[in-house]
Amino acid sequence: MATESVVHTAMTLHDHLPVLQILVPFIAAPLTVFIGSRALAWPISFASSVVSLVIAWLLLMQVIDGDVISYHIGGWAPPLGIEYRVDAANAFVVFLVAAISVVVLPFAKVSVAYEVPLRDHALFYSAYLLCFSGLMGVAITGDAFNVFVFLEISSLSTYVLIAAGAGKDKRALTAAYDYLIMGTIGATFFVIGIGFLYMGTGTLNMADLAQRIAAQGGNRTIEAGFAFILVGIGLKLAFYPLHLWLPNAYTYAPSAVSAFLAATATKVAVYVLLRFCFTVFGPAFGFEVLTLQYVVLPLAVVAMFASSFVAVFQSDFKRMLAYSSIAQIGYMLLGIAFLTETGVTAAIVHLFNHGITKAALFMAVGAYVLRAGDTFYNDIAGLGRKMPWTSAAVVIGGLSLIGVPGTAGFISKWVLVQAAFEKGWWPVALLIVASSLLAVIYVWRVVEVLYLQPAREDSTATEAPLTMLVPIWVAALACIWFGIDTDTTLGAARTAAAGLLNLPGQ
């Protein structure tokens, strides 16, 4: 920081948007605890989410054409100081996270009140806000170590959020504990990887890292760093076979948490992977190409099938969705492993589309939990007639999960198949379609349970309250909207992909 000749022009609020993005929920979190009011916890969370969404929108609009905003924390210029660097890719992710939060929170009000003991509400929402700001922080920061810090903020609060499911099912505690162990290992690997990079380059700023790595080329230190980061992030994004924590975590967490996490947490991790694979390392490195094509790609395909099969046989709707998430993450990894612009576009679009789809479905799960007590197939049998709106949303979400034309899921799979064709990898394209067929089966099972099976005789379920239905339907309609209006998502994803691959903006 220059100490002499202080020529300072006052920064406006507009200049602070990148940091405000994180700061608003981040300050709201301790504020919730400090006020300590159970009644105020939700309004504070919701208000800060809305503000975040507005900011995210403003940022997205600034960078949608390929511009980059750089914000220096504490006035320390990078590479020395921490830099928040907003480009199309992370603005898109941040926007997704904020939007999901704004949609999930109204839903959470009733769902959390039902599933989480009342005395914990202030702390619950505080943890939620921390998780929320952490996830956005991971996306927005341009500093590799800062990524780790935010990753830990979000992870630690995630453990708490999952454990909050213990009010309903004590297994949430073990699930949270397992996740804590695995998450910590993942974070450790990640930070070890960053340590290697620092050792090899002497910098932590991602843009700077990219330049220096490109300049010096690959060496053992950097290669080891790459492997560690890949495994570390792989744990976070439930990269097969490192997904083993995920089914339990999503199953036993409160429904609102599952909805939020499924739609955002793994997606942010995918973003980090994208960022490291393409910005920091650059797709030109042989070791990266080799790893992605011979390790990540086969495992992604395995994930698509193995997890889908498991999902087919599940008897719990929520757990089925958890396994389907692992399969869907396979699609994103596949897109990344193609190492082409179309592939990365597919990964980013799928990240978004799968986010809204899973948000809708997990929220519907919350509605079933509220009304039927559980989501085992025999508990929700026949609810298609008793909860018509919720179930209709499940059908829409299910169609999007399958990738039926007219839904968001179709767009991403279409682009993914295109990417496979571009590469000339026909078998992979066939595998994508084949695994979609598995999705047809597990979605059909749910539809069959909901609509074709008779309801339990003791079932007293009625339609979910409006505060749940509206968010569910916002997400469900988004599935359809983004299945038809593809320009927004595809355009943003293309710009983002071009930015990540350092192509001229489109």
Binding site: M1, T3, V6, H8, A10, M11, T12, H16, V19, L23, F26, I27, A29, P30, L31, T32, V33, F34, G36, Y71, H72, I73, G74, G75, S126, K170
Partner: protein
């Protein structure tokens, strides 16, 4: 209440004052000498924890009730983040302490780091004590019906 361990109790009472004082020393010299909010927070927490260890959880919770711990815990973060917000409102970057004394950025940075460290100290104190409370107040093993 344990009525033995007379020595321990006397010594503890004697030590608590100096420990707190030392914590404050570490806290406010953190910017120039080894120390700072983290260390000071832990030391400050030690004062309470040792009190709880010797005199029992109930006693220490009368002095430092759990709700207050929660508030302090949050307050520290608010102080830290608030510092940054103030600089932000003064037209500088987030956490750019130069904002406090525009003519003399070094002074501003000095002030800034002092406040931030205070926030860290408060939070760390709260967290340490909260962890101690959490472990010390553990409910008995979960009964079978709860599973």
């Amino acid at each position: 209440m344990i009525r033995h361990h007379l020595i321990l109790r006397v010594i503890t009472k004697m030590l608590i004052g100096p420990i707190m004082l030392f914590a404050l020393y570490v806290q406010f010299h953190g910017d120039y000498s080894p120390g700072g909010g983290f260390q000071a927070g832990v030391i400050m927490a030690v004062a309470f924890i040792i009190y709880g260890v010797v005199f029992g959880l109930a006693t220490v919770q009368q002095v430092f009730p759990p709700w207050l711990v929660h508030k302090l815990l949050a307050l520290g973060v608010l102080i830290y983040a608030g510092t940054g917000v103030v600089s932000l409102f003064l037209g500088y970057g987030y956490l750019d302490y130069g904002a406090f004394t525009p003519d003399h950025p070094e002074h501003g940075q000095h002030w800034g780091i002092l406040v931030v460290e205070l926030g860290v100290g408060v939070t760390v104190t709260g967290v340490m004590v909260a962890i101690y409370y959490a472990f010390a107040a553990r409910t008995p093993a979960i009964s079978d019906e709860d599973w």
